[in-house]
């Protein structure tokens, strides 16, 4: 089957995202990693450590699917499109946010340690969201 | 089947009455009956005759074809009470239909079977550039070759052309005319052959010829062109899944063995890959009575099929 390359191929944009994600991960305690993907599932950038066995591409696709399901779920419940959703696991939270600009739709996934509660996780991720939105708004 | 009913010696009022009664019983009879008025040329003729008690009775004369190829007719007589009431007429018409059906069934194993087989053989040999004409030189169909496949152009859709060929004993093969490809219906020759085989009667010798082996189908029929139906789909599914004998397939699908043979003959005629082996082992293991779970599943599938049929109609 035809494989596809990353469609958001602007290196400048990706570099800006990567920097935003890196500084957010460093500055927030309890944040394991961040991953950004297009809303149709292509990995854009992440802060997953090189030695990790996480498959970035699969994770990006799953994050986009999860965001898609969240939107569908919200719509079926007569709610407006979802802004984000949370998965609770025994090993910590996964928080997914949908970000939209005039030109792009992206998904941001944050993985948090077990000790991080919902409030801290959402607060930390929302900070990254504003940074990413600013980049998206300023990007031409 | 359309049949003619006639009367002899009936007054205009009585004729009108018969016509009205025929309309009333229309939904309760199998054939399409048409009233031809006063005539002696009808499949069913109602004739008044004087009765020994001084009243009148109606004599029903039924002309029954003895042999489809000959003009000879056999006549049956039934007596009925006069005045003829609706249920009396219904009874006569139903009896007539029964006699006609029995007659057709008795004949089906002989001339018709051979004729269809000969017709299929004749059609299989047709090539691009050939055309099929009726007796009055009317073009029925023309053949062309496109992408290694022989196509038919015709004024008739495939099932109607099959019917026309089966009924018409005087078809001739000639050359296609130039504008034959402008005819409205186009389908491959195999679609016509498939239809003819599925409708053909089977001689008794076919049953014994097919019943000693197990068959499996290496390809699904091409339903882009070939007529489907519940039996055709399930037979295709069965024979593509595993080798089955005629009897096993008939038991599995709860159909007549003849229908299974017709299907396999149709598959052979259209060139599908069939492999056969001599029956050695025990009968294929069929789920004799489905367990509760299987029963529920089958019931669900049956509901879905009904629902799809409704939506489709």
């Amino acid at each position: 089957m035809t494989d596809s390359s990353n469609p958001l191929n602007s290196n400048t944009l990706k570099a800006a995202f990567r920097e935003a994600l890196k500084s957010a991960t460093k500055g927030s305690s309890g944040m394991e990693f961040l991953l950004m993907a297009t809303s149709d599932g292509y990995a854009l950038c992440d802060t997953i450590s090189d030695g990790s066995n996480i498959n970035r591409d699969s994770l990006a696709a799953m994050a986009a699917s999860f965001a898609g399901i969240s939107d569908g779920l919200a719509s079926q419940s007569n709610k407006p499109a979802a802004n984000g959703s949370i998965i609770e696991t025994n090993a910590g939270l996964l928080v997914c946010k949908q970000l939209k600009s005039n030109r792009h739709e992206v998904v941001l996934l944050g993985a948090f340690e077990q000790s991080t509660n919902h409030g801290i996780a959402l607060w930390s991720l929302n900070k990254v969201v504003s940074d990413v939105l600013a980049i998206l708004e300023n990007y031409n | 089947m359309a049949l003619i009913l006639g009367t002899y010696g009936f007054s205009p009022y009585e004729r009108k009455l018969i016509q009205e009664q025929l309309k009333v019983i229309d939904s309760k009879v199998a054939c399409q009956w048409m009233y031809a008025g006063e005539t002696t040329e009808a499949a069913l003729l109602l004739a008044k005759k004087p009765c020994h008690k001084g009243t009148q009775a109606v004599q029903v004369r039924l002309y029954k074809p003895v042999d489809k190829n000959s003009e000879s007719r056999q006549t049956h007589y039934i007596d009925a009470e006069w005045p003829l009431r609706i249920f009396g007429l219904l009874d006569i018409v139903q009896q007539t239909e029964k006699i006609i059906n029995n007659n057709s069934a008795a004949q089906s194993g002989t001339a018709t079977t051979n004729e269809t087989a000969a017709l299929i053989k004749k059609l299989t040999a047709l090539k691009s550039g050939n055309a099929i004409y009726q007796l009055n030189n009317q073009l029925l169909a023309a053949l062309t070759e496109e992408n290694r496949r022989t196509f038919i152009y015709s004024r008739l859709p495939v099932s109607a052309l099959g019917d026309a060929l089966r009924k018409n004993k005087h078809i001739e093969i000639g050359n296609a005319v130039d504008n034959a490809t402008q005819l409205p219906h186009k389908y491959p020759l195999i679609a016509l052959l498939w239809d003819l085989e599925l409708e053909a009667d089977l001689p008794a010798s076919d049953l014994s010829q097919w019943e000693q082996r197990r068959y499996s189908l290496g390809q699904w029929p091409d339903f882009k062109w070939l007529r489907t139906g519940d039996n055709v789909l399930r037979l295709s599914a069965a024979f593509t899944k595993r080798p089955l004998s005629i009897q096993e397939a008939a038991t599995l699908l709860k159909i007549e063995p003849g229908a299974v043979i017709r299907f396999l003959k149709a598959c052979t005629t259209v060139g599908l890959r069939i492999t056969d082996t001599r029956i050695r082992g025990a009968q294929a293991r069929l789920a004799a009575s489905p367990n509760e779970q299987q029963g529920k599943q089958l019931s669900l599938l049956s509901s879905l099929r009904k629902r799809l049929k409704m939506a489709f109609s």
Binding site: T2 | S236, L304, R307, L308
Partner: protein, 178 residues
């Protein structure tokens, strides 16, 4: 064991899975479509990212559920999640797409369990007679004995035939003990 009543629509992006489910579904089908960021691969505005869902209501309060997978290869990890419990699959392919034949084989292999029980039906659209014959030959060469239809996912009656074939196949599957 639960009654299996889930039919899957599989195939690459742009093959018509979402359309097919919308065509067959009694109610408005639910979908998870988002902006397509990769128009080089297929020039359409939106693409499915998680699944499509529709249903056919049966007479006796039972439903047949129709699920569509996201067609792009990077969603492959999602496929088994959507496919779980499916009784059969309709593999839609668009013969006007490049590599459509390889894509067909790719999906048959990806849904190997269904292919092994002949519970996949290939429904090709925008296909010429010649391409149809080529595909039949290819499937045959690869040892797959699967029904092949020409199906426009916008047309209800063509999809109904596809579903009828799957039903026939499943009935036989249940009735023969292997």
């Amino acid at each position: 064991m639960q009654i299996q009543n889930k039919v899957l629509f599989i195939g690459p992006m742009g093959a018509g899975k979402t359309t097919a489910i919308q065509t067959l579904s009694d109610d408005v089908a639910a979908s998870t479509e988002v902006q397509n960021s990769n128009k080089e691969m297929f020039n359409k505005e939106t693409t499915t990212v998680a699944m499509d869902y529709g249903a056919i209501q049966l007479d006796d309060n039972q439903r047949i559920h129709l699920y569509g997978i996201p067609g792009q290869k990077h969603f492959e990890p999602v496929w088994p999640v959507v496919a779980k419990g499916a009784i059969g699959a309709i593999l839609l392919v668009n013969a006007s797409q490049p590599n459509w034949q390889q894509d067909t084989l790719y999906f048959i292999k990806a849904f190997d369990m269904l292919a092994k029980s002949n519970s996949i039906l290939v429904a090709a659209n925008r296909i010429t007679d010649e391409q149809h014959d080529e595909l039949a030959e290819l499937l045959d060469q690869q040892g797959y004995c699967l029904p092949l239809l020409t199906t426009d996912p916008r047309f209800h009656d063509e999809l109904v035939l596809a579903l009828n074939i799957l039903i026939a196949n499943l009935e036989i599957e249940i009735s023969i003990d292997d």
